[in-house]
């Protein structure tokens, strides 16, 4: 998964639910189908809930990775308008 190049990256560190997902959703809405969104976050619950909600909205979660003690990176491919 390391070779995936995101089309857009957002940093939502410091945000908690539901604003983590709200921000991620607003970001992906502005993108084209097939493009990849990279989300950097530090709220543990959102590392589970964002992938779940993105899948429920019809997008493809490509990767969820804990990159250090506090942060996660999620890669989501926009699969529908």
């Amino acid at each position: 998964m390391d070779d995936l190049i995101p089309d857009k990256s957002i940093n939502i560190k410091g945000l908690v639910c539901p604003y983590t997902f709200v921000k991620a959703k607003l970001a992906i809405e502005t993108m084209e189908v097939g493009q990849i969104l990279e989300i950097l976050l530090d709220y543990q619950e959102a590392s589970n809930s964002i992938p779940k909600s993105m899948e429920a909205h019809g997008h493809k979660v490509l990767d969820v990775k804990k990159i250090n003690d506090t942060d996660w990176v999620i890669l989501v491919r926009k699969d529908r308008e």
Binding site: P18, F21, V22, K25, S53, G58
Partner: protein, 266 residues
């Protein structure tokens, strides 16, 4: 549309809905809704449309707030007694949500002003309390092709229907002519349980939002009837009448008239 951080918070429960999202919320912000009446129905409809962030809400009503209104007209209060209802409602709605522009119109609509008043609006909401207005609003919306969300209440029963001119039925397909005044309950016979307009107005507001975001199925070609005493909702189909005098194949009503039959306003 770029939302401020406050707007993202305010509308977050809309934005996370798949059917709304940021795009739907932007449509709501751009929408212009024209409301007939700032009474029992207009208060909850306007309250929820303002909360939802509808960008422009015009309200027409020529009454002032009276004590007997306050058992059901929730945008007004003891503090606004004597104030024009449209001003009282504007203050309430803009306090709830400063994003919303409320345009108060303290006047009576008539055949001479309605077309000009509604022409810049996307959707019309009828919360009027009398048949002449109801028919005038229907005919104006059919003639101009404006979607109309109509509500009515009496005692413990309410009705809601959504009129999409050219697609579904209109009010005259349902009730071709106004009932004779004697058949309409007089003031003494009428009454309304104060919660009822909250329910019917809530349904109207939901219909308006669905039309704005283009999701779901509006009550076009259908009439919803709520019986509060039995706690039942019935939806009946209302076919478009090909012989309807205003929206039929050969309409006889091609311009507006004022229907000034004497009704007791409830």
């Amino acid at each position: 549309m770029d939302f401020t951080d406050d707007q993202i918070k305010r509308y977050s429960r809309h934005i996370i809905l798949p059917e709304v999202g940021g795009k739907g919320q932007a449509k709501i912000a751009k929408a212009k809704v024209f409301m007939i009446g700032a009474g029992g129905l207009g208060c909850p409809v306007g309250y929820y449309l303002a909360a939802a962030g509808v960008g422009t809400i015009a309200i027409v009503d020529d009454d002032v707030v009276e004590l007997s209104n306050l058992q059901r007209q929730i945008a007004h209060s003891t503090k606004t007694l004597g104030m024009p209802k449209v001003e009282s409602a504007k203050a309430t709605f803009e306090t709830l949500n400063p994003d919303v522009n409320v345009i108060p119109l303290k006047l009576r609509i008539s055949k001479d002003n309605i077309l000009d008043l509604i022409k810049d609006y996307d959707i019309v909401v009828d919360g009027s309390d009398n048949f002449p207005t109801r028919y005038l609003v229907n005919d104006a919306c059919v003639l101009t092709g404006k979607p109309l969300v109509s509500g009515a209440i009496l005692r413990f029963e309410g009705q809601v229907t959504t009129i999409i001119p050219g697609k579904g039925h209109c009010y005259r397909c349902l009730f071709e002519e106004m009932p004779p005044p004697g058949l309409v309950p007089s003031c003494q016979e009428a009454g309304v349980l104060g919660v009822l307009p909250g329910i019917i107005g809530g349904l109207q507001a939901m219909e308006v939002i669905k039309l704005i975001i283009g999701k779901g199925e509006p009550l076009s070609g259908k009439l919803l009837i709520y019986d509060a005493l039995k706690t039942t909702f019935r939806t009946v189909k209302v076919p478009k009448n090909p012989d309807c005098p205003v929206c039929g194949m050969n309409p006889t009503i091609t311009e507006l008239a004022d229907y000034d039959a004497q009704y007791c306003s409830i």
